[in-house]
């Protein structure tokens, strides 16, 4: 299927997100720090914002990306600072905040003894969605419609990732946190994911996407945040990040290596 056709499919089947509560930024991270056992500083005074955009989050292994995601979801308790989702402080209103979020963890622990369809039904049920039609559309979009009744334990890495992506993105979350969404995806699925992210972003969903594929991050992101050892070392549009690295005309991969590595 061509990119135009995919774009048309996405725009015809994907309604715009609920635009209520637009006064607060969708994601606001203010001076957040987190250490493990006092000696490993996972996050060190990180501040950033994302609203109606795609924010690319990049950094080397162990830079603090996953910890930031877990802090945003209040799965781990940050030591200091404030994180707000559409105005909700995640420490005080974690349930309300989580209802606005779709999350794809880097390491996907799924129920191997549920089928893909059952797993999506579970997530939809937990998010109080009655969306069997939408689920069918998503499975069809990622080419899993004929594998929906197969146990997840039988899925390949790419298929598991697709199920995780559908679980995160169905129901039009206001904020989508995608930690390494490309791992295991084939080229066609990567393109489909990119188009869906762009479409949903236009419809009002805010994305935070981390990946080690710099070309993908550069292409989809409105702004990019670069983490190094838990510190935010660059933040802004791709041009702005290039400027901050002092490499205005270099490929983004070189810029990343300059900023993210010692």
């Amino acid at each position: 299927m061509s990119e135009d056709q995919l774009t048309r499919t996405a725009s015809t089947t994907y309604p715009p997100a609920d635009p209520s509560n637009t006064t607060e930024p969708m994601l606001s991270v203010e001076n957040v720090s987190k250490s493990y056992g006092g000696d490993v500083q996972a996050l060190d005074g990180v501040s950033l914002e994302a609203n109606d955009e795609v924010l690319g989050l990049v950094g080397a292994n162990g830079a603090g990306k996953s910890t930031l995601y877990r802090s945003i979801l209040d799965l781990t308790t940050h030591d200091s600072g404030t994180i707000r989702i559409a105005g909700y402080d995640v420490r005080k209103h974690s349930v309300e905040a989580r209802r606005l979020i779709g999350y794809l963890p880097e390491e996907l622990h799924l129920y191997d003894r549920l089928s893909g369809w059952e797993l999506l039904a579970l997530v939809a049920g937990l998010r109080d969605l009655d969306n069997s039609e939408e689920r069918r559309e998503w499975l069809d979009y990622f080419g899993l419609d004929n594998r929906r009744d197969v146990l997840v334990g039988e899925y390949s890495l790419g298929m598991r990732k697709k199920i995780g992506l559908i679980a995160a993105l169905m129901g039009r979350p206001r904020l989508a946190l995608l930690d390494e969404p490309l791992n295991g995806l084939d080229t066609d699925s990567m393109r489909r994911l990119r188009l869906r992210i762009e479409e949903m972003s236009r419809a009002g969903t805010t994305f935070v996407v981390s990946s080690h594929v710099m070309s993908f991050v550069e292409r989809i992101s409105d702004r990019i945040a670069v983490l190094r050892k838990g510190r935010l070392v660059a933040y802004g549009t791709t041009e702005s990040v290039r400027q901050q690295a002092g490499m205005p005309n270099s490929p983004f991969e070189d810029v990343f290596l300059q900023l993210a590595l010692d």
Partner: protein, 511 residues
């Protein structure tokens, strides 16, 4: 260093780390619970010692109903395979990495054998302690210790080797069904079963190793049948016996089983690997006839219903070998109750009481699955945590699951009580009411406490079961003060329920 030594060194290191990580439970909490339970039960143990010894020394099979015991032995036979299968062939577990390395097949076998051996160590220690307790001391007397240790070691070691042979044969047999040479697999399976039963006959009915008899209890009826055939075939009135017969028989059996397992493993390993890979791919999905939308309209909250449907689906698909085991224990308890109700030697009141107690045990066996279900779900708990489900709905879902699980044996039990021949209608009514009360207590206490014991389900289960069964027993055996027990239950349940949401919040999501 040789490959076997190298691998075992690393395994021992990992095992040592596990011991260190669980030191508190293993060396403090566990002994405290066991010691406390033994102290509470010491009076009854005193009265049990003599009859047990008499029973074992008389070489008579225990007077248990044969059908449920046979069903349970069949279940145990089936249950022994998956764990060993996982160790031998599952690509997701440790030892399978050795298949891709230049490790001799014999070394791979010894590693598997060592792992199976390690698995019997806790049972060995527990049985050793219990044997000592039955003698009225902490360990068996020093003069008997070598005999007892050898007896237990040979019994448990043969069980471990027997498991390996069975797992090898099952995989081989499944392959053989699709090929021409079906007979080898089936033949080996039959022979190993017979060998196992004969060995159990030699080991299990020994007067010197009474506790070994108990672990093989389910096998005894089958073994007794074989013994009868052997006796009639050789016109024997008693089996030949001398002080050296048993140790020599045991050693020969162990050696024979080791050689058999080793030969089969080396010979079949490559082809079995491929078969196991195919077998581990389950393509057929068995759905539960649960309509989410229909249930939602009746139970209210969709997140709650979604979790209950998920839990029941996982149980129906045997998320763990604990599922058939729990079902087997529940069925055995119910079968025992049926035979008890027909036992004219017992007074009617005691028949009624023991029937309710047995049926409560079957309820407990099923509800005990819930903590293991939660343990299985913990790595996937991010799904609940990140989708904005109310904490109350998370623990309520487990309570509902426990209720559904407990209701199944409870309903079956009520039907058994209704069909009881000698009980009058009033006694039946009282017994059913007592069973319903016991079911309610067991399901609610364990269902509510499940998040209290998420990290250590076994220990938690012991605590929870003791509390729940104690309350149920008070209602069954001292029904006069029912209002007092009800108040006590209400207090305990409200205390646990008050903490439930907080406990859910504290459950960590795995990285």
């Amino acid at each position: 260093m040789r490959p076997t030594q190298l691998i075992l060194t690393f395994r021992c290191r990992a095992f040592g780390r596990w011991i260190r990580a669980h030191g508190f439970e293993l060396f403090f909490l566990g002994p405290m619970i066991v010691g406390g339970a033994l102290w509470v039960l010491s009076r009854h143990l005193d009265s049990l010692r003599a009859p047990i010894r008499q029973l074992v020394e008389s070489h008579q099979p225990l007077g248990l109903p044969i059908s449920p015991v046979l069903a349970f032995s069949l279940l145990l036979f089936v249950l022994q395979v998956p764990a060993t299968f996982r160790e031998l062939y599952d690509p997701r577990y440790g030892a399978s990495v050795l298949d891709a390395l230049p490790v001799p097949t014999a070394a791979r076998f010894h590693v598997s054998m060592a792992t199976e051996g390690m698995a019997i160590v806790p049972t060995f220690l527990v049985l050793l302690t219990v044997m000592g307790v039955l003698e009225g001391r902490f360990l068996p007397s020093l003069s008997r210790l070598p005999d007892v240790c050898w007896g237990l070691f040979s019994a448990l070691g043969s069980l471990a080797l027997f498991r390996i042979v069975m797992a090898l044969s099952v995989v081989r047999w499944r392959r053989a069904v699709r090929s021409i040479s079906a007979h080898a697999g089936i033949g080996v399976r039959v022979v190993t079963t017979l060998l196992g039963a004969l060995a159990l006959l030699a080991l299990g009915l020994s007067a010197h190793y009474p506790l070994a008899s108990f672990i093989f209890l389910p096998w005894l009826p089958a073994a007794a049948q074989i013994e009868a055939i052997v006796r009639s075939g050789f016109a024997l009135t008693t089996m030949p016996h001398s002080p050296w017969t048993e140790p020599i028989t045991q050693a020969c059996y162990l050696l024979g089983l080791y050689l058999l397992a080793r030969i089969l493993f080396i010979r079949w390993h490559r082809s079995n690997l491929e078969t196991a890979r195919l077998l581990s791919h389950r393509r057929r999905v068995v759905g539960l006839p649960l309509n989410l939308r229909w249930l939602t309209t009746r139970l209210g909250a969709r997140p709650l219903v979604a979790q209950i449907v998920r839990d029941l689906t996982l149980i129906a698909r045997r998320f763990s070998p604990a599922v058939p085991l729990a079902a087997g224990v529940a069925l055995t308890a119910q079968g025992a109750v049926v035979s008890l109700l027909f036992d004219d030697n017992l007074p009617l009141l005691w028949r009624q009481r023991l029937a309710v107690a047995g049926l409560s045990l079957s309820v407990l066996a099923m509800v005990a699955l819930v903590p293991f279900l939660l343990k299985h779900q913990l790595p996937r708990f991010w799904i609940e945590k990140t989708t904005g489900v109310e904490l109350e709905q998370i623990w309520k879902a487990k309570l509902w699951t426990a209720t559904v699980l407990g209701s199944i044996p409870s309903i079956l039990g009520s039907m058994i009580l209704l069909a009881a021949p000698d009980l009058d209608p009033t006694a039946k009514g009282v017994a059913i009411l007592q069973l319903i009360a016991a079911t309610g207590i067991v399901t609610s206490i364990l269902g509510l406490a499940v998040f209290e014991i998420a990290a250590q389900p076994v220990l938690g289960l012991i605590f929870g079961s003791l509390v729940a069964l104690a309350l149920a027993a008070l209602i069954v055996f001292y029904p006069v003060a029912w209002w007092l027990w009800l108040a006590l239950y209400g207090y305990v349940a409200s205390q646990i329920a008050g903490r439930a949401s907080r406990r859910v919040q504290l459950v960590e999501v795995a990285e």
